[in-house]
């Protein structure tokens, strides 16, 4: 096992600014040292909100870094709600909410009723081995790309992006010709305003709106087709299922459609890219997993803990109260930092060690207790297990050759590019 830097450098918590996008694109070791210091010294640390041009700056939020505190908040959805926004620290302007206000930012009972429309499609029993065929095909194409480029490929573009894109588009019934657009729009929507990914750094709201409108337009086209000719896909379920005796409104359908596409793409993509990088940095663990398919289950969980592809979700207090000794007021915002809780030594032995056999592994990478626990958790696990096993078998000589280009966003632990080469190809 590889042990990370033994004693982290001292962290000046007063100088720490979680709203600084560049900090999030910096070295993970710096981030994890800061999380450790927060967990130890300021389990509820108050931070100013990030400034995004066009969105009013709110009063600030509490950063929650201890596992026990995060769990206590997540498991009390009536006291700590999602309905005032779960995926943005500032309150979102109403026009953006039209596209981005789906179930992840809703509360029960409506949340549960809408989620149940698609629940069954994401259960272990129903996920058939469609994932395997997609992965085999993507890796065959990656090999051909490498052959055409002296062995050079990009892990994100050639492997990590197309796998979840094709899987979720197949489930939704999005036609081939619309898929490149889906990937482009979903990347903009979760760019966190990264200037490399949106046209005008000073106007992210327009970029988010435009991307939302594009996807809503696609949904309208598909909705009309599915109403006329129902298919066995999720889009048909969204447009035909009745909740409380009524079909969903077109805004509810559009925002749900967009959520499924984004959540299906941006998460697994980064889990794969970050996973390939983690194995590159821990060659002993890579060799051990490659040799032992019996490790698939625990290895996938450990990669999700280790990479925490979704860094946080927000909750908002619905009334005054106290949680684990911390007093708060109605309207206070809490940032549930999954990436920090996933390395809490109170729960994980040697949390800074990547151990692909870790068991039990009660990580909160897919969220903690509560009704919003990741809808796609079983799908993501399947995608990761199949992808890594296929990488070991079909592209055993894949080697990372350079530094990752990291996303400048606090929300997803993203990688934009990860250069690699395929040995034996020229």
């Amino acid at each position: 096992m590889t042990v990370e830097a033994a004693s982290p450098a001292p962290v000046d918590l007063d100088a720490l600014d979680l709203s600084d996008r560049d900090w999030w694109a910096g070295p993970p070791s710096v981030r994890y040292a800061a999380f450790a210091a927060l967990r130890r010294e300021r389990p509820f640390a108050f931070f100013a909100e990030p400034e995004l041009p066009g969105i009013p700056v709110g009063p600030g939020c509490w950063a929650v870094t201890r596992y026990a505190d995060l769990d206590a908040i997540s498991s009390q959805p009536a006291l700590f709600c999602s309905g005032r926004g779960a995926v943005s620290i500032p309150d979102v302007p109403a026009d953006l909410n039209e596209f981005y206000g789906s179930l992840i930012s809703m509360d029960d009972p409506r949340h549960a009723k809408i989620r149940r429309i698609v629940s069954k499609a994401f259960t272990p029993r129903v996920l058939l081995d469609q994932v395997r065929a997609v992965v085999d095909d993507v890796l065959a194409r990656a090999r051909r790309t490498a052959e055409a480029q002296d062995g050079v490929i990009d892990v994100v573009t050639d492997i990590a992006a197309p796998i979840p894109l094709r899987v979720i588009c197949d489930m939704m019934g999005v036609p081939e010709d619309a898929r490149a657009g889906v990937l482009a729009q979903s990347t903009v929507i979760l760019s966190g305003g990264d200037p490399e990914l949106i046209e005008d750094e000073n106007d992210p709201v327009s970029a988010f709106l435009l991307a939302g409108m594009e996807l809503a337009g696609l949904m309208e086209r598909l909705a009309a087709e599915r109403l006329a000719h129902p298919q066995a896909d999720l889009t048909t379920a969204l447009v035909t299922t009745e909740v409380d005796g009524e079909r969903l409104s077109s805004q509810e359908i559009a925002s749900f459609f967009i959520l499924l596409l984004i959540a299906g793409n941006e998460t697994t993509r980064n889990a794969i890219s970050q996973g390939v990088l983690a194995l590159h940095e821990h060659p002993d663990q890579r060799a051990r997993w490659a040799a032992d398919p019996g490790l698939d289950r625990t290895a996938v969980e450990e990669l999700v803990r280790w990479t925490s592809p979704v860094t946080w979700m927000r909750r908002t207090a619905t009334r005054d109260g106290e949680v684990n000794g911390h007093r708060f007021r109605a309207g206070d915002k809490f940032l549930l930092l999954y990436a920090a809780a996933n390395r809490d030594p109170a729960v994980f032995r040697d949390p800074e060690v990547l151990d692909l056999a870790r068991d039990p592994n009660p990580h909160v990478g897919f969220g903690s207790k509560g009704p919003h626990f990741c809808l796609g958790a079983h799908l993501a696990r399947r995608e990761l297990a199949v992808t890594f096993r296929a990488l070991f078998d079909q592209l055993p000589d894949l080697e990372v050759t350079g530094e990752p280009n990291r996303l400048r966003s606090s929300f997803v632990n993203g990688v934009k590019r990860l250069p690699a080469r395929l040995g034996g190809v020229r």
Binding site: A112, R116, S119, F373
Partner: protein, 61 residues
């Protein structure tokens, strides 16, 4: 052992189905059904109840 599902709380996450597939199956309505509690591996069912994200599973002996 009796297993009871709170149908208002269950969101059909499938966590229980993963842990005890002989006992739980999420139905087409997105709420879990209990298949055959009698034959259940008790340990797996207790695990499922403990890990259900919404606390929708109640156990009685």
């Amino acid at each position: 052992m009796r297993v009871e599902v709170d149908r208002d709380l269950c969101v059909g996450s499938g966590t229980c189905e993963l842990l005890a597939p002989d006992v739980f199956e999420v139905g087409g309505d997105g709420v879990v059904r209990v298949l055959q509690p009698g034959q259940a591996d008790e340990g797996a069912v207790r695990d499922a109840a403990a890990q259900c994200p919404t606390g929708a599973l109640g156990l009685a002996d």
